[in-house]
């Protein structure tokens, strides 16, 4: 078989203010025609730098210090182009880019210019590499849009990227990369920013296109589930070096390198034993100690949080005093009810826009619902959250329920030291003397496994996982009974994810905490939750205890969601037939028993064992 790309002993260096950084150290591999090679690694392992070197789009301060990249263009009878020895902006290199090798990026919104129509941006590459007129380019664009599954391609061509959903944007991006039928497609985390069901569709699309066009794919990802579903050969990278390089089967069934072995153990997957723990690559030492007042699980109400019939409508109004103001009401959440029992973790799952964050914001009092009731039972008293008026009540409520945020970078004030960040809640609530506070902050930082010396540093000197732990320490400062965790690990690397998840699990066990855990990642939810709630289009469609949920899912949306999660197991590949052609998240397209439309408005019905399904009975 012919190779289309050879990478030989590649070294890439960056000239950073803090000195020379060797991002890639002696990497060699080859890509055969029509095959998929996956590069797996954590952020900072140098996997994206390799793709940038191949495309000749390294940032200005980066350069190839040593080694060769050779590209053999099958369109030109496999003529060799030595990418490493030609200039980035030279005509030869520009001919390779877009025509021979194309790339798609992680974030489909920022990868497209918001000021140009997608047709303009897709056709651009075609016009550059073919001597054709505008009409032919337009035809080619319509054709490629049809190929990547755009609805109504001849109309979509004049649409701007911000008018499209994330999945369609990524399709447009793929169309842009494919229009010149490249021999190699580099996909740099192509589905990381997408919802699971959309991810499955995009993966299917890439597979279909690959077999249609006989194109090779170089897939860069940190998601072992995606790799297991897509790759023929796998390269595992760590700190700029290849740890392991082999076929899909070898890598998953017979991992050799300790790094790969531990990586496989750090990823949460379905069907883990009830007491099985994830093993993080770097274990953290946390000293969990109760901070004085212990929470007694036996006293107080058994249910910490009761959410009853919550609804919230957002209206986008086109204001104009000439025309009638047309109101556009979107039901963000619709009749949402659930309980969170004391000492348990309730997982709230759903895709972006399903209303899970709105729900959590209402519970925290950041948004006012249209209707509904929220009762919060602390071990001492009962609070009607939506009726809180006085400052005293607000303080009391805040003290007993706290929030852990998704983005560990923007949720910590960069101008405060770690000590100030963790200490701030204590000052606001005027707790203890200065010395008490110092001791408390010290024990908090030890609890999340960071050294006491880190208290004097600023957030920027910590990694994402460490920052998230600082955020957890801040949330715990007031000794809350209840924590809302809004996607706390989705911004973290796989290996770090395990650390944070284990920490949250231990804290819950040892401190008797109660969690509402919001995530789009079902494997994470499976690992940490006791009870699972699925939301879609503002409604709860199914809620069940964990085991029931995974073994006996009823609702078509839940099934589609479960079916769309790629598992890190090459023997259990995704079944693309389960995706309902992307209609799984549209309530009016569900089968008759579950459909929501003018005629049917289904209700929650219990099918036993506290397992509820939204259905028409």
């Amino acid at each position: 078989m012919d190779n289309i790309l050879l990478v030989n002993d590649l070294h890439v260096e960056f000239n950073a203010p803090e000195g020379l950084i060797k991002a890639v150290k002696g990497v060699s591999f080859k890509i055969p025609t029509g095959k998929t090679i996956a590069i797996v690694g954590e952020s900072g392992s140098g996997k994206s730098v390799i793709s940038q070197s191949i495309m000749g789009i390294l940032p200005k301060n980066g350069s190839v210090a040593q080694g060769q990249i050779k590209f053999y263009d099958p369109k030109n009878s496999f003529k060799e182009t030595m990418i490493t020895s030609i200039k980035n902006n030279s005509p030869e290199m520009r001919k390779v880019r877009g025509s021979g090798i194309s790339i798609i990026f992680q974030e489909p919104m920022t990868s497209l210019s918001p000021l140009h129509t997608i047709g303009n941006q897709i056709a651009e590459g075609f016009l550059l590499h073919n001597k054709v007129g505008n009409n032919e380019a337009r035809e080619a664009t319509v054709e490629i849009l049809k190929l990547v599954g755009f609805p109504n391609p001849s109309k979509s061509i004049d649409i701007y990227p911000f008018e499209l959903s994330g999945g369609l944007r990524q399709r447009a991006m793929i169309a842009m990369a494919m229009i010149c039928r490249p021999a190699l497609l580099i996909a740099d985390e192509p589905t990381t920013a997408l919802d699971v069901t959309v991810q499955a569709q995009i993966l299917k699309l890439m597979k279909d296109l690959q077999s249609n066009l006989e194109m090779a794919i170089l897939m860069i990802t940190h998601d072992l589930g995606v790799v297991a579903n897509m790759a023929d050969e796998i390269i595992v990278m760590y700190h700029g070096e290849i740890m392991e390089y082999g076929s899909l089967k070898d890598i998953f069934h017979d991992p050799q390198h300790p790094y790969l072995k531990s990586l496989l153990k750090a990823v949460p997957r379905f069907g883990m034993g009830p007491n099985e723990r994830l093993i993080p690559i770097r274990e953290i030492n946390s000293k969990i100690s109760t901070l004085g007042s212990e929470i007694n699980l036996e006293t107080g109400n058994k249910v910490v949080l009761e959410v009853k019939n919550l609804s919230k409508t957002f209206t986008t109004r086109k204001k104009s005093f000439l025309s009638n103001s047309s109101q556009n009401a979107i039901k963000a959440i619709d009749d949402v009810s659930f309980d969170v029992p004391r000492g348990e973790c309730v997982g709230l799952v759903g895709e972006s826009g399903c209303g899970k964050t709105t729900t959590s914001k209402i519970i925290m009092g950041a948004l006012k619902p249209d209707t509904g009731e929220i009762i919060f039972n602390t071990s001492k008293s009962k609070i009607d959250v939506l009726k809180i008026r006085q400052r005293k009540e607000v303080l009391y409520f805040r003290k007993s329920s706290q929030y852990i945020f998704q983005d560990p970078f923007s949720s910590l004030n960069p101008r405060m030291t770690v000590f100030d960040i963790i200490n701030e809640p204590l000052i606001i609530h005027n707790l203890g003397s200065e010395e008490d506070r110092l001791n408390k902050v010290k024990s908090l930082i030890e609890m999340v496994g960071l050294p006491i010396t880190s208290l004097r540093r600023y957030p920027h000197s910590f990694s994402g996982g460490q920052r998230q732990r600082i955020g957890i320490a801040r949330a715990l400062a007031l000794e809350p009974e209840f924590l809302i965790c809004d996607e706390p690990v989705s911004a973290l690397d796989v290996s770090i994810q395990a650390q944070v998840l284990n920490l949250l699990k231990d804290l819950k066990r040892d401190l008797g905490l109660t969690y509402l855990f919001i995530s789009h990642n079902l494997a994470v939810i499976d690992y940490i939750s006791d009870y699972i709630i699925v939301m879609c289009a503002g409604k709860i469609v199914e809620k069940a205890p964990k085991d029931d949920f995974f073994n006996n899912a009823q609702h078509p949306y839940t099934k589609a969601l479960l079916g769309a999660v790629p598992e890190p197991n090459p023997n259990k590949k995704l079944n693309f037939q389960n995706l309902m052609d992307g209609k799984a998240s549209i309530p009016s397209e569900w089968p008759e028993k579950y459909v929501i439309n003018e005629k049917f408005s289904p209700t929650m019905n219990e099918i036993g064992n506290n397992h509820w399904v939204l259905s028409n009975v």
Binding site: G98, P114, L115, L128, K318
Partner: protein, 341 residues
């Protein structure tokens, strides 16, 4: 979109009305008026009949009427001595100082002002764009640093000082007459080709003087905007398609970084017209800036009022135009209402 335009037009009307009222209040705030100043002056010269004459004039000009009525007459919603004749009817009133209708006083000068202003704006853009783009694409190079230094000098030098320096050198090197916007012999002549050339010959000094600080500021802003945009992923995407670096720059990041400049047009217009007053005094330019200053000092209320009204109109219309241009340039603004939830 059409609704939006109509709506914007309607909002402009109350805005201008409120501004006109504020202007009138502020002009009337200082004690006395033009005629009482005049009276004091004449009396000090020993003119005994002055009081009577001034009283006649006061009635003539309607200065004896209550404030609100004066405002109404000026605006044209209340009848004055000559019936309804005010701003709404296109009559700007009478200048006391020049004893001429305001429109005639301003007449020629407003055109010269506009010429100077537009030349300045064009100068600013033509100079700052290439430099800003160069600075951004060659960040921290020798060229970037030296251009930045020159830019800061331009920002820091007081305009009138630069004006004096340039005037001196214009005279020594090119033999251009000091001061004015044209050769003296064309002063009250009708427009001709020679007069036009003479204006061009004199124009560059005030344009450079008034434009330097604006240019320097714009270079800094363009550089900063462009540096932000150059980092963006879509620039890499365009390069990955095989687009030439320079063409990429023109098509994507440069266009993205234009928005703040277009949004700025609304501010630029009145700023250039009024902000150049001191320079105009130094250069003795026959533009409107010095005249506004004088009218305000002598409480020539209709002249000053019409002037300020003109500036307000320029601002409001300028904002409207820049919003239109923004909508034309940026589909997110044009279509954003319905697209972003």
């Amino acid at each position: 979109m059409f609704n939006y335009l109509i709506q914007r037009m309607f909002v402009m009307i109350p805005t201008l009305l409120v501004i006109s009222f504020l202007i009138f209040v502020i002009i009337q705030l200082p004690p006395g008026d033009y005629l009482s100043n005049q009276l004091l002056e004449l009396q000090s010269q020993g003119d005994s009949a002055a009081a009577e004459r001034i009283a006649f004039l006061r009635e003539q000009y309607g200065l004896d009427k209550p404030f609100i009525q004066q405002y109404g007459i000026w605006l044209g919603v209340l009848p004055g001595n000559e019936g309804f004749s005010g701003l709404l009817q296109g009559d700007f009133g009478q200048s006391f100082e020049f004893d001429m209708p305001v429109s005639e006083v301003i007449g020629d000068k407003i055109w010269l002002s506009i010429i100077v202003s537009f030349a300045t704006i064009i100068f600013t853009w033509v100079v700052s764009f290439p430099i800003g783009v160069y600075s951004a694409t060659h960040q921290y190079s020798v060229g970037d640093h030296s251009l930045t230094l020159i830019g800061f000098l331009g920002l820091a030098t007081p305009n009138f000082l630069l004006a004096l320096v340039l005037l001196y050198f214009a005279n020594v090197w090119f033999g251009t007459e000091i001061g004015g916007l044209m050769d003296e012999k064309y002063l009250d002549q009708p427009w001709s080709f020679d007069k036009f050339m003479s204006v061009l010959e004199h124009l560059w000094v005030p344009v450079v003087v008034i434009g330097t600080s604006g240019t320097a500021g714009m270079i800094r802003r363009l550089r900063a905007n462009l540096l932000d945009e150059l980092q963006k992923q879509y620039v890499t995407t365009a390069k990955a398609k095989g687009l030439h670096d320079f063409k990429t720059l023109l098509k994507y990041p440069l266009r993205m970084s234009l928005n703040p400049f277009i949004a700025d047009i609304g501010n630029l217009l009145p700023q250039v017209v009024s902000g150049a007053a001191i320079v105009s005094v130094v250069l003795s330019l026959p533009t409107t800036g010095p005249m506004l200053l004088q009218a305000l000092q002598s409480q020539d209320q209709y002249l000053a009022g019409s002037f300020l009204m003109g500036l307000a109109l320029l601002t409001v219309v300028g904002m409207f135009l820049s919003d239109l241009a923004l909508a034309a340039l940026d589909p997110r603004i044009r279509l954003g209402e319905s697209a972003s939830k």
